[in-house]
Assembly symmetry: C3
Homo-oligomer: 332 residues x 3
């Protein structure tokens, strides 16, 4: 692996999930692999899970880690070419990325979208330029339109919790894994959030569906359609109740509108998943990438109930990061 930006950077999803679960079973088995290798984590926006889980993954692989909070350190980056830098930006991404590439063997970058200019956000200009100029393998720690470490984590968690059964066929026993129904449902929020998590979740689930691992449905209010680029093959409906029927996993997430870019179109808690609403599911497991607004996005009863996977899901962030870093280290 040379970079990790989207699901296109992974070929066989089942294989990478198995590799991640093997790391979960033996976290320190590859401590030599990253020896004397430096990971630089660059945050242009806040982070809790991503910061800690990626650091831990790197340490499990024997890497050294340096963290750079560029939002905090007052280091506004210029990304446009051909401008006279006589304003507020103090350094161009050409130099900043190249310099960090000099100090690190692998880099990670977090940069949220501005949610004002859709074309600019969806060009992924900042991530792409950083990747070009740093000249080192770059891992997305969430970019303007995707959060692939989260999505890989979600896939790991779904497959980990999908029951296998032993089945007799022609007198022979073999293990059969049921194909779960995974539902992504929009949920309310008071702030306008990026589409990065649902875009990314959707493109990973669509590919998993293609590879025969699961069935994927998306439900959201009208006006919240995601960019079609990410939803190829998914069943999409604005009828939440219909979508939830027989679901095995319900993935809850708010996002702002892609059509009316960055806008909040629906208020009120009508779309918030509750135990009542989930009665039509197949005792569905409940997932959320966190942080979650309790009793606004998702009812406390579900979060604290026996079917919540949110904490295990967050825990699995380590194994997603570790398998990605492992594959990158193996190709340095």
């Amino acid at each position: 692996m040379k970079k990790f930006f989207s699901v296109a950077d992974v070929d066989n999803l089942s294989t990478i999930v198995k590799e991640a679960l093997a790391l979960k079973a033996a976290p320190n088995a590859h401590r030599k692999l990253g020896e004397h290798k430096m990971l630089g984590l660059v945050f242009l926006n806040p982070s809790l899970r991503t910061r800690l889980s990626t650091q831990k993954a790197a340490i499990n692989l024997g890497m050294d880690v340096m963290v750079m909070n560029m939002d905090k350190d007052g280091w506004a980056l210029e990304t446009r070419d051909g401008v006279v830098m006589d304003g507020t930006t103090v350094e161009h991404i050409r130099e900043a990325a190249a310099v960090m590439g000099e100090y690190c063997d692998v880099l990670g970058l977090r940069s949220f979208p501005g949610l004002k200019d859709r074309k600019e956000d969806y060009s992924e200009d900042l991530f792409n330029k950083f990747s070009t100029y740093c000249k080192k393998p770059l891992v997305s720690l969430e970019s303007a339109t995707r959060h692939p470490l989260q999505s890989l984590t979600d896939l790991i968690t779904i497959l980990e919790h999908t029951p296998s059964t032993s089945k007799e066929v022609d007198g022979k026993f073999s293990t059969v894994t049921a194909k779960p129904k995974v539902v992504l449902t929009w949920a309310p929020h008071v702030k306008a959030l990026p589409q990065a998590v649902p875009n990314s979740f959707s493109e990973w689930m669509c590919k998993a569906q293609e590879q025969g691992l699961l069935d994927f449905t998306i439900t959201h209010p009208e006006g919240y359609e995601l960019d079609e680029h990410f939803t190829n093959g998914a069943t999409i409906t604005t009828n939440q109740n219909e979508a939830l029927k027989n679901a095995d996993f319900v993935y809850v997430k708010n996002w702002s509108s892609y059509q009316e870019y960055g806008k909040i179109l629906v208020t009120g808690r009508e779309w918030m998943p509750t135990p009542e609403k989930l009665k039509v599911t197949n005792h569905a497991k409940v997932m959320h990438c966190l942080p979650v607004r309790r009793d606004l996005e998702l009812s406390s009863a579900l979060l604290d109930g026996p079917d919540s996977l949110v904490i295990q899901e967050a825990g699995n962030r380590v194994w997603a990061a570790q398998v990605v870093l492992k594959r990158i280290l193996e190709n340095l």
Copy 2:
């Protein structure tokens, strides 16, 4: 040891001090103990000594350390249950603590009191909830009402500087340690400070007095009485001069009123310890937890004089943290 929140988490004080001083003599003797163990330090408030000394202690034990500054990263935590999170808090402590517990083997938490609602502060709700939800051993890096790593440090420093003498009894020589007189005195400040340090110092000194290690006196202006829960057995007086007589150690600290909660009742520098005031002591050693306001809380002449222990005291923070982490690691 399963957590470190108050003096109640330590049984024999003399034993833990001896263990800490053994670590001071051989800091790297236990580098294998913490191998592949992750310490997460969570700061909801600023820190210098606690941050650095605890990191160093963990590294001495071979642990890996991740630091999370949650005040800086704009990550306001919700602690109340049953509220709809449609305001400014972005994550509930239930999730935040549980997630950090997924990534770490041991956690440390700093959280200052608001100094507005005494009942809330003294309930130690935040620390207790974090401890419950993280499901890992939790070390207080100063909570609303206590600063136990500081108090353990102070006890180490006092016993380290208490002279032992050789004495003949019935023809046999044995080492006898004098029982020192320790005095905690209130001192002026321009800001309203928590009671955490004096509460904690007092409960540690009271227990040390019970175990026959020292005699303990508290002196402060009227209205600055500490919660009785922390001062059981101490001699308490509002006569500073009387308290200082024959003192071997003078521990200087400001705090805001517990009765008129969070208020400053006394201004002016009348209560500031000076060389003149300390003439009635037994050449007392001077202690302060730092940071100290020079010539407001404590005179420069004392801070820079030969009887000041403040720097050695700060240095001993490492051994207090290290003995606590060592005991926790031994019980994982």
Copy 3:
């Protein structure tokens, strides 16, 4: 080496450059040297290159590193003696430095000048006091008047890129290194910047000139004369074109006036180096300490052109820091 504050802390410049380049060739050859040694990096101002390169250098030597951002943590230090600390400063440098000295074997300190009071800035009071009170070897990570790790880096980069030729003398072949012409030129900026980088570069180049390693010229507009203390032996001219003639290395940097202290006297981009201006040079290599304001301080055409050394120069920061730390560790 006991501290690293200025060129006076290094005897033979050629020797230290060779030692640094040996570290570049084998970064991990001394991993045992720093084992169980703690480096504390204290930043009173922002940092990217210095922070990352010094961390990496320390890790290459096997040291542990703790970073303390004192600007961020709201920890305003008092440096004056004899004042009653009843204002906004929360801790005196006497205690802060001494405490950090308790936790670390080697310290680094960054502190920019205020650019208001020249006498105060040029006294280097803060650095000197920190050095005195911490009682440990102290490395300047840029002080009020100097940035020695940058200057050592610059010298390494210049000598690394100075061609050697084989020459026959009396029938024997020997390696001869040409003496390059190094030019420091002032360049425009929109903010008033310290003189630390040009002061420091100048004192290192003047000493290198004394030791026969290069020829050194400074050019700047009238009113931008540096303190003579730093420019001893340099050719100084206000004619930029004259200065650039036959230059092998052009070092571009803005600074505010030393005479009219901290003021910007020249605006406009007339002094900005461009390919056109550099036609009179000997295909000069272009250097800048970064961050650089593109097309204000230095033209993009030069920055992105084949003669730019700015990224390699930034990369060399690691070896400058590593050779300094190595020499300090060898003398602990």
